[in-house]
């Protein structure tokens, strides 16, 4: 017969774990609800089409920051995706030696480096020699951040392709390169693309490495050599500003950024779980 005390401890502790879960999930719902309420309601079409206005002048938007973020992401993709993807191909298809272990270990290491340190890296490589902030340096910082995630996700998805497919192609006389190119990569295509989307969503919200590389700009930023505005940096500068008007805009920008990031994440995860269940 269970003692009353043991039963009570059981009931109390188990319900406490439930409370912990509710707190964690509640926080997310609170964040979503609050941003929806505060940012979503004040969002107008101006936000997407207009430049920021001077302090005190109503209206205005963050069109330059949206374009700036897009440019930075494009640049980052050009650096991060090819290196990451091909590195992943190496690990999945040619690896297996101790060199692969070193590469994997370094990748994890680079993945754990705080984003602000990556920012310093881009600063010392581009901003310091050039003497001015630029879109280029911001793109490099985000690109470096993309590499480790790209490498690990492409390795995982390529490895998930059954060996029998590779053997089939080899048996038909295809070379290894041809097998990878025409059989393995197409088979892993959906996963690879999803990995890229998740990767982009992650770096799209990065603020710290951009503060002293892309720096920010209140106007359009033509070309790649000038400082540029980016959505997350804009949220930061507007949030810590003393003007109520700017703070309101920070909420709208926060709402847009969060919706972007969450939409990509939800879609990507849905695709992945769907594929995961069909594979089994």
């Amino acid at each position: 017969m269970l003692s009353f005390r043991r039963k009570a401890v059981n009931a109390i502790m188990l319900s406490l774990t439930g409370v912990c879960t509710i707190l964690a999930v509640g926080t997310l719902l609170f964040i979503l609800g609050y941003l929806f309420f505060h940012g979503g309601t004040s969002l107008t079409i101006n936000f997407f089409t207009k430049l920021p206005t001077p302090v005190g002048e109503a209206g205005g938007g963050m069109a330059n920051a949206l374009l700036g973020s897009a440019k930075l992401l494009l640049l980052a993709s050009c650096i991060g995706i090819p290196i990451g993807f091909l590195g992943g191909v190496y690990l999945a298809e040619f690896g297996g030696s101790s060199f692969s272990f070193v590469v994997r270990y370094t990748t994890d290491l680079l993945n754990g480096v705080p984003s602000i340190v990556i920012g310093i890296f881009a600063y010392t490589l581009i901003v310091l020699p050039q003497g001015h902030f630029s879109t280029l340096s911001g793109g490099l910082a985000l690109g470096v951040m993309m590499i480790p995630i790209a490498i690990r996700s492409s390795e995982d998805f390529l490895r998930a392709v059954p060996v029998s497919l590779r053997e089939g192609a080899m048996a038909l006389g295809a070379s290894k390169a041809k097998t990878i190119l025409t059989v393995v990569i197409p088979a892993a295509k959906a996963g690879l693309l999803t990995g890229i989307m998740l990767n982009l969503a992650r770096v799209a919200g990065e603020t710290a490495p951009l503060i002293f590389t892309a720096f920010g700009n209140r106007y359009w930023s033509p070309g790649w050599e000038q400082p540029t505005a980016a959505l997350p940096v804009m949220i930061y500068t507007y949030a810590i500003s003393p003007y109520p008007d700017w703070k309101q805009q920070a909420w709208s920008a926060g709402f847009v950024l969060l919706m972007l990031v969450l939409t990509v994440n939800i879609f990507a995860r849905m695709i992945l779980t769907k594929r995961g269940s069909t594979a089994r």
Binding site: L2, N10, M13, L14, L16, T17, C20, T21, L23, A24, T27, I31, L35, P82, L86, G87, L91, F94, F99, V103, Y105, T106, D108, L109, L110, G112, V113, P114, S115, I116, V117, I118, G119, I120, F121, T124, L125, F133, I147, I151, S175, K176, A177, K178, G205, A208, I211, F215, P232, I235, Y236, A239, I240, K247, W251, G254, L257, L258, L262, R269
Partner: protein
């Protein structure tokens, strides 16, 4: 096809070399070389990162030596730079966050792995992992406008309970080490929950059945059998969360108060390594000032590398134990 045709004549006689060209034509070696180059780029970038941090922090390293880490004056005007207040701020906010996040995170992981039905557990884990995808600047935004006013409102209650300790003394303006700790807690909980849940789920069912058969309650089974079995993996998740909170920049910068002093009270404003880099880097003038900030970056890099390394070892040993 990529091989230049002029070299074809020279390689024809040798059997090995012609085999090489043939393989090159079929693309295998090209693919190998290209992908290997990309894999090596990772090593090169990491090495370059360390080198650049080291090279650009040479001036303060020569001027201050090791005392950089243990002096607490940060005065750009006088050219005096000591990292201690920032190191303290980084460590204390992370410690505070772990103190709150470990019980909450492990508790939620237990619920999701042991109690909740699989469907609900998966759905909730999905939501919690979404929380991990929320950009740090959004946490900062909510920190400034929601958390700080809320903490100011409940401050008398906290003080009534804990005010007798030096940790909760002195005036409270809202922005403080404590606020930063709370924001970090929310940010690292998803990591602890999702990894711990995986590890707990990996504990063999026989372990639970054995304990239950001996008459243990559900809680006793979980606490005395399952958790000890999964201990190393849970520790790994905690270390990963710690590494993340040490390097966390934006959310902390926005609520910590940015004052380079060491106060015994958690209610007082502070400063963290990442925050000072974010705030002062673009305005730093002179090699000494900039170099000092880069050296702070180097310190942060070292800290996270050590913690991450420990985390990997822990997670690796548990997963090995789980499979064998």
């Amino acid at each position: 096809m990529a091989a230049p045709s002029t070299t074809d004549f020279s390689v024809r006689p040798s059997g090995r070399a012609s085999a090489f060209w043939q393989r090159l034509r079929s693309g295998d070696d090209i693919a190998y070389v290209i992908t290997l180059t990309c894999a090596m780029t990772i090593l090169a970038i990491t090495a370059l990162l360390v080198f650049e941090l080291f090279r650009n922090s040479a001036v303060p390293r020569h001027q201050f030596g090791w005392s950089f880490l243990i002096t607490s004056t940060w005065d750009p005007v006088a050219g005096q730079f000591g990292a201690l207040p920032f190191i303290y701020g980084t460590v204390i906010t992370s410690a505070l966050a772990l103190f709150m996040a470990i019980p909450l995170g492990v508790g939620a992981a237990i619920f999701l792995a042991e109690l909740a039905p699989a469907k609900i557990s998966n759905a909730l884990t999905f939501l919690i992992e979404l929380l991990a995808a929320v950009p740090s600047v959004i946490f900062g935004l909510l920190g400034i406008f929601v958390l700080v006013p809320a903490l100011v409102a409940i401050e008398p209650a906290i003080r009534a309970v804990l005010g007798w300790t030096p940790l909760f003394s002195g005036p409270f303006y809202g922005v403080s080490v404590f606020s930063a700790g709370v924001v970090l807690t929310v940010m690292i909980i998803p990591f602890i929950i999702s990894i711990s849940r995986e590890v707990i789920l990996a504990v063999p069912t026989e372990q639970r059945e054995g304990a239950l058969a001996l008459g243990a309650t559900k809680w006793e089974t979980t606490w005395d059998v399952v958790i000890p079995f999964a201990k190393k993996g849970i520790m790994g998740s905690i270390f990963l969360a710690l590494a993340r909170s040490l390097g966390e920049t934006m959310a902390v910068t926005m609520v910590i108060g940015n004052e380079p002093k060491i106060h015994s009270s958690l209610f007082a404003p502070g400063y963290s390594i990442a925050a000072v880099i974010a705030n002062e880097f673009s305005e730093a003038t002179g090699e000494l000032y900039l170099g000092s900030l880069i050296e702070l970056g180097l310190v942060l890099f070292g800290l996270t590398i050590i913690i991450n390394g420990l985390a990997r070892v822990l997670v690796l040993t548990t997963t090995k134990k789980g499979t064998s």
